[in-house]
């Protein structure tokens, strides 16, 4: 019995361990504790008496539409008011947000597919998929390897800057239309989808691609006939996964002055109509949940077969 226990102990001791993981975890814990102890961030301050007074006034007064405050409140009245608001700006805001995100994610998907193809190291090597070409080893000095490296760098730059900042910069350049929002979302997501597409291509089973290559297919032939259809299924899953984030992000880009939901939210806030603001935020939440369901259903449908 003790022999068995010793074996178990030996097995436990020989488990793979990584110093990097342990140090990272420790650093994460220490940093979290330090941030709460030393910085000016305090959740207690959020609930100080002054702020609670604020909150109290907001809930009893500002939160409700003017004609429903105090004794005048009825649920029916609130329902009517919501209907009015929905017809006034709500429906338009939701539709614009949806259109922005759909157009943006499609542009991002096209750009991301290109970036992915040019960033995939197995496709962009001197002898794609041929037996003596091994990814990540050996000679990486061919100019095509440089192309792949450069493309990956571009992807990183595109996705490192948040959508909101892209939109802010583009708005100053292009003026007020929906383009800044669409392009901002498209740029950021192209960076993300480009990386995901590149990883997908690199992880494809190499045998069929090698067969095409050895049968005399050029790089372009292999890419169009082999890589594209093989990677498409997974890429579409990523597409829908990014679509829901895109809708979520599109709701706020309007705050910069583009006609998405955020624009009407900011408008309402500027006029002190907090009830309208809250209702529009609620509509935004509904839209995101809908997009969530659509993307979930689409992904499941795709996974069932080609």
């Amino acid at each position: 019995m003790s022999d068995r226990l010793a074996q178990v102990e030996a097995l436990r001791k020989s488990r793979p361990r990584s110093r990097l993981i342990r140090w990272s975890a420790m650093l994460a814990v220490v940093c979290s504790v330090l941030v709460w102890l030393t910085s000016d961030i305090s959740l207690a301050d959020m609930f100080s008496t002054k702020r609670l007074g604020h909150l109290d006034r907001f809930i009893t007064n500002d939160m409700l539409p003017a004609k429903l405050r105090g004794d005048a409140f009825t649920w029916g009245g609130l329902g009517d008011w919501c209907g009015e608001q929905f017809q006034l700006n709500g429906a338009r805001a939701m539709l614009a947000t949806l259109c922005i995100s759909v157009l943006a994610i499609v542009l991002a998907a096209v750009a991301g597919a290109m970036l992915g193809a040019f960033g995939a190291r197995n496709l962009m090597s001197a002898h794609p998929f041929l037996p003596h070409a091994t990814v990540g080893h050996g000679d990486c000095s061919h100019w095509l390897d440089r192309v792949a490296q450069f493309t990956r760098l571009i992807c990183i730059l595109l996705r490192a800057v948040p959508e909101y900042i892209w939109a802010y910069l583009l708005l100053a350049m292009l003026g007020t239309s929906a383009w800044p929002a669409v392009l901002a979302l498209a740029i950021h997501n192209a960076g993300i989808l480009g990386r995901l597409a590149g990883e997908t291509i690199e992880n494809l089973p190499s045998q069929p691609l090698r067969a095409l290559s050895m049968a005399g297919g050029t790089r372009r032939d292999v890419a169009v006939v082999g890589v594209f259809p093989m990677a498409l299924g997974r890429y579409l899953l990523y597409f829908f996964y990014r679509f829901e984030t895109c809708v979520r992000e599109a709701t706020v880009l309007g705050m910069l002055g583009v006609v998405s939901l955020g624009y009407y939210v900011i408008e309402a806030r500027a006029h002190g109509q907090y009830s309208t603001m809250l209702f529009l935020i609620f509509l935004g939440g509904l839209l995101v949940m809908l997009a969530d369901i659509v993307s979930d259903v689409a992904r499941r449908w795709l996974q069932k077969g080609i």
Partner: protein, 282 residues
């Protein structure tokens, strides 16, 4: 005899149908927004701005671009960049530490594997949690920040909480999926040996999903840094605030310094998490 290859045109496959649908949707969206391609070309002042802005990208500022009128005892520009980055990081870390706790608790309750071998009535509770998670995720952190600003006024805690709520939801959703997709053989074996449901879950299931959970958390930290940077646009003292001020003052070289600083931080986090993932998988 081998089955003959189909010669007649087949019905479009799922993927072809979905691709067609996607492109149709994009065309409808394009016309629905009333966009024209001509608007993509910046005009007069916009064009000038594009030129100036992008020519500034090769010479980011290391000192204040225009030091006239600044008080003489002002701290150097790079200090300001560092301070902005530091605040951005502290907000992100604080928000992530809250989200990890929230996401883990909610993620456990939302996963099917946690409730396996328990009374089926718990399913109702699980679905309630799942709806709660979906609701938390659905409102963007900037909209939440607006609500907190309106109800509580400006305080760093508001930005942190605004980020932490949707991030908890996202983490919970992904954690629950990872738990449910983790290999179940060890858990089944423990269960046959007579272990209690909680033991089965904590020893057989949870550790198998832990590498994925840790790797994903690191990726979300990177996202939190971006979110916290953007919070600056609402008056919190993260890097977004300084970036906006510099841009409004037409100090484009300073803007590029902030952008590069943000990119470098994101890059470091990305390389780090990539290394972590490799260790986990190996």
């Amino acid at each position: 005899m081998a089955k003959p290859l189909p010669l007649a045109p087949r019905l479009p496959t799922r993927r072809v149908r979905i691709l067609t649908g996607i492109f149709l949707a994009a065309v409808i969206a394009f016309f629905g927004l009333g966009l024209s391609l001509g608007e993509l070309i910046p005009r007069d002042s916009g064009f000038q701005l594009v030129l100036e802005f992008f020519s500034a990208s090769v010479q980011p500022a290391f000192t204040y671009q225009n030091s006239e009128g600044l008080p003489s005892d002002i701290s150097p520009f790079l200090f300001k960049v560092g301070r902005g980055l530091w605040t951005t990081l502290t907000y992100a870390v604080a928000a992530m530490s809250l989200s990890l706790i929230g996401g883990m608790v909610l993620g456990l309750f939302a996963s099917a594997s946690f409730w396996e071998r328990r009374h089926p009535a718990w399913a109702t509770f699980r679905w309630t949690v799942r709806v709660l998670i979906a609701a938390m995720r659905s409102v963007h952190e900037l909209l939440l920040a607006l609500v907190f600003l309106a109800t509580l006024g400006i305080t760093p805690g508001a930005a942190v909480l605004a980020i932490a709520i949707p991030y908890s939801g996202t983490l919970a959703k992904v954690f629950s999926e990872m738990l449910d997709e983790s290999p179940r053989e060890a858990a089944d074996a423990l269960s046959y040996l007579g272990a209690k449901p909680l033991q089965v879950f904590l020893i057989g299931r949870f550790p198998r999903a832990l590498p994925d959970i840790a790797a994903y958390s690191f990726y979300r930290l990177e996202c939190a840094v971006r979110s916290s940077a953007v919070m600056g646009f609402f008056g919190f003292t993260t890097i977004g605030l300084y970036l906006r001020q510099s841009f409004e003052n037409l100090h484009y070289r300073e803007v590029w310094t902030y952008l590069y600083a943000l990119i470098v931080v994101v890059l470091i986090l990305e390389v780090w998490s990539a290394h972590l993932r490799r260790r986990f998988v190996a």
